[in-house]
């Protein structure tokens, strides 16, 4: 009996994970069918890759905020690092690998690695802090990364790679190519149709997170969130697991950034500002802390929403805010949650009553039969 119970509960987690994978795959299939049927507006088509990007951003931030339990306000910084490192490598390889898809895959890996390295560097000082302090430092990190890349000049010519933080000192030989041109950012990139790759990347990130959470390391990360002192007392290395959660999250954001860059022909660092970090945080909070499926759905819906609200023109962001507040009220309101619970209990009671009544009838019938005999 005990074993049966356990199996059911184990299946519950796995089942729930597969439902999440299923939602992503179903969304992909539906979009592909609609596109083949020509029923998708060009506006929505242009949004497909950003949706993938924001979904990955949301689930990776959910790893930091929901699973590790640390509020990070600089997630767009890692995205930025991934976008620019990935795009630069992709442009450098343009002559070597003419095919766009393998180059994109390489740029995703490079973006993830660079973001992970920056994650480690930022993590060393930042993870000594907790709560609000950590939030403030990550916020500063996001701004610093933005300023750094806005003032960065990287170019490629026959002498190799050139790098400078001062425009006046930056010279390229004849025929050289500018890769990152300070505030102008990246330009002249070739756009890649990367919707399918984006979906695969979402599934990969989901799989990593689900598998991590159900393993020894993921448990340790969640233990830190719940009670740091208790975690230390049972021999869990706090720094190691905090860093692990933070860096995995950063690497995913980096890959998302590289994917984002592949969708544009030009890109500026100012795109990855504080607002982007907050936007992703909104997805996470709306979807529920630690709830990956919620993050996926919230990110997809809220990326599309501003475009659907174009009818309101100037009042678009106002409507967005109202819708957001409305959703928050409905999904996070304890009064409404209680109400829903009551309805459920009532239904349960009703069905229980019905069952009891049926039982009673049966009993009556049986006794009547017996008496008849």
């Amino acid at each position: 009996m005990k074993n049966v119970q356990r199996k059911i509960s184990l299946n519950k987690t796995t089942k729930s994970n597969f439902v999440t994978y299923g939602i992503v795959i179903a969304a992909f299939v539906i979009m592909e069918i609609l596109m083949a049927a020509g029923m998708v507006s060009s506006l929505l088509k242009g949004l497909l890759v950003p949706i993938c990007v924001y979904v990955i951003m949301a689930i990776s931030l959910n790893l930091t905020v929901g699973v590790l339990g640390e509020l990070s306000l600089g997630h767009a910084g890692f995205m930025s690092v991934g976008a620019f490192s990935g795009a630069v490598v992709s442009m450098m390889l343009q002559s070597v690998i003419p095919d766009a898809i393998p180059r994109l895959l390489i740029s995703l890996v490079v973006g993830a690695i660079f973001a992970a390295i920056v994650g480690v560097l930022v993590g060393i000082p930042v993870l000594r802090l907790n709560g609000d302090y950590l939030a403030i430092v990550t916020l500063a990190f996001g701004e610093i990364i933005k300023s750094l890349i806005t003032n960065m000049y990287i170019g490629l010519d026959e002498n190799g790679l050139h790098f400078s933080m001062i425009k006046q000192k930056f010279e390229l030989a004849e025929g050289g190519k500018m890769l990152i041109d300070g505030p102008i950012g990246l330009s002249g990139m070739r756009k890649v149709d990367s919707f399918a790759i984006g979906i695969v990347l979402i599934l990969l990130c989901l799989m990593i997170i689900f598998h991590l959470v159900n393993s020894k390391s993921g448990r340790a990360i969640m233990a830190l969130r719940d009670n740091r002192i208790a975690a230390e007392s049972v021999g869990i290395n706090v720094t190691k697991y905090k860093m692990m959660g933070f860096v995995i999250s950063a690497a995913m954001a980096g890959a998302a950034g590289a994917l984002f860059a592949s969708n544009y022909s030009a890109l500026q660092a100012s795109k990855f500002d504080f607002n982007t970090s907050i936007l992703v945080l909104v997805f996470v909070v709306l979807g529920g802390l630690g709830n990956m499926r919620g993050s996926v759905i919230a990110a997809a819906l809220l990326t599309v929403l501003p475009e659907l609200l174009r009818a309101f023109s100037d009042y678009r962001m106002l409507a967005y805010a109202i819708v957001l507040i409305g959703i928050m009220l409905v999904t996070h309101n304890p009064a409404i949650a209680d109400r829903l619970k009551q309805i459920k209990i009532k239904q349960y009671k009703k069905s229980a009553d019905r069952k009891a009544a049926a039982m009673e009838k049966k009993m009556v019938r049986q006794t009547a039969k017996k008496e008849g005999k």
Binding site: S217, M222, A223
Partner: protein
């Protein structure tokens, strides 16, 4: 009700007393001249104790005497300002809480500290953390070692939970358990780290008399099956006098008496610390 133990306590050369059966063996814990000052306040001063490898020892004292601070010193939540701590003869100087746990001390907390959002089984598995053998990558890629180690951990967790007959609660969230069960789960989690010395901080707090007597039996059972030492802080004198072999009494950060239950009960300094001085005349 657990039967009263009649253990003869003998002095050992290093410090203090241990049960006679442990006299030839190295004590699992020796604390010598242990002390910590917070600012000008001496929270613990010249604390000496030795615990035999299979001893159940008690640490009692009025509220605010510094008992939990002693536990925090032993587990290096605070770094002591004076004195030394030896675990199985190993000096714990400069060790972290994590290293002290690996050296063999596990503890529970006065104010329960469970991983509330995780299940009972996951809590125990976290106690097993350092004995589960696979890397993060193997875990993410679900390699054969992951399945094998997780299966073993699952079985071991249920086995440990069965000490307190809690295996049916394995899938409940730890935070949703009743108070007594949370206390028991904390002990199971501590035991899962495979300690040589178990520190219990008020294990019977909030328990009713029948639960307490069950706990007493269980503490003895744990000592006998795992062959480990237990050092406990408790205000319930039935429990302390019933199962503790050696008892130390702490007041204002200082040990005022050490000995067996009888010796402690008849010690005038202890009576004074708990009840105050008799008025002259």
């Amino acid at each position: 009700m657990a039967t009263r133990l009649d253990t003869k306590m003998v002095p050992i050369p290093s410090a203090g007393i241990v049960p006679e059966r442990d006299s030839g063996k190295m004590p699992v814990l020796v604390a010598a001249h242990l002390g910590i000052t917070f600012g000008g306040l001496k929270a613990v001063d010249d604390f000496n104790i030795s615990v035999g490898p299979t001893e159940i020892a008690g640490l009692i004292g009025p509220n605010g005497a510094g008992k939990t601070t002693v536990f925090n010193l032993l587990t290096k939540v605070y770094e002591p300002t004076h004195g030394t701590i030896l675990i199985n003869g190993r000096d714990t100087h400069n060790m972290s809480t994590v290293e002290v746990n690996k050296a063999g001390i596990a503890r529970t907390f006065q104010n329960i500290r469970l991983f509330n959002n995780l299940t009972v089984e996951e809590n125990v598995k976290l106690g097993l953390h350092n004995s589960i053998n696979y890397t993060t990558l193997e875990g993410v890629l679900r390699m054969p070692r992951y399945w094998k180690a997780e299966k073993e951990a699952h079985e071991r967790a249920l086995e440990l939970l069965s000490i307190f007959d809690m295996q049916d609660l394995a899938d409940y969230k730890a935070g949703n358990l009743p108070y007594g069960a949370q206390r028991r789960l904390e002990i199971v989690r501590a035991l899962a780290t495979n300690p040589k010395l178990l520190l219990l901080d008020e294990p019977a707090a909030g328990m009713n008399p029948s639960e307490t007597s069950e706990l007493m039996d269980n503490i003895i059972k744990i000592r006998d099956t795992f062959q480990i030492a237990v050092l406990l802080i408790e205000h319930d004198m039935n429990l302390v006098m019933g199962i503790c072999e050696g008892i130390a009494v702490l007041n204002y950060g200082k040990i005022i008496a050490k000995g067996t239950a009888e010796e402690i009960q008849n010690n005038p300094a202890v009576i004074e610390a708990y009840l105050g001085k008799k008025k002259e005349g």
